[in-house]
Symmetry: C2
Subunit: 132 residues, 2 copies
């Protein structure tokens, strides 16, 4: 397993985040880099999780919501009871995301209409200015 551990600097560069952010996520138990002495080394698992974290953030999920989802993607040594709970949470989150997509579609349509209207308005105002 070519786990290719990377330092905090490379991790930051790869995902465009600050060291502070990575340490903060660690305290929130979103990441768990290994320690070589004092320093952090991020694993393949950390990279996969960070990718999911940043994605979740783009959708407006809180870090706590994201943490719960990560447990589904990465069930490690979960108990059946806990797995079921995680499963339910994920199902709810999925429903949430599907609803969000519908709303997003609607919002995009509205904004497109509005942009069209704005364009026409700009054109007509520009005409007026020319003829003045």
């Amino acid at each position: 397993m070519t786990d290719e551990l990377i330092g905090i600097r490379e991790m930051c560069d790869a995902f465009d985040v600050t060291p502070r952010t990575l340490r903060f996520y660690e305290t929130k138990e979103l990441l768990s880099p290994v320690r070589i002495g004092q320093k952090r080394l991020f694993t393949r698992r950390d990279r996969a999780r960070l990718k999911l974290i940043l994605r979740g953030k783009r959708f407006g999920f809180s870090l706590e919501e994201i943490r719960q989802l990560l447990d589904l993607y990465d069930p490690r040594d979960q108990q059946l009871t806990q797995l079921k709970k995680t499963y339910e949470i994920a199902k709810a989150r999925l429903a949430d995301m599907v609803a969000r997509r519908e709303a997003l579609d609607e919002a995009i349509e509205d904004l497109e209409d509005q942009l069209k209207w704005g364009e026409e308005t700009i054109n007509s105002l520009t005409q007026k200015q020319k003829s003045a």
Copy 2:
């Protein structure tokens, strides 16, 4: 124009927000209810704007971003220069939303796959328990 002015209480009930929120939005110039003496009366325009505000929030936009968008939906007496600026902002926001939808589609797919996997895992674990 049946503008049907409503009080803060009805407004709160209709949109499931607190009075504090409405007052806060007013200070941020997202809403501009008329004043009868001391009290606020919310117009049809306020209701339309609040709907857009709440929608924007669901997508993770900041109130400031939302405020800029509202100006497009409600151009009132804008100058041509300002309208153009608003138009550009809205175009950028639209691009953002379209990108977000793509990412959301991807995330939904991933989560669906993961849910499937989780379901199978739960079933197999449940089998093990039964046979134990």
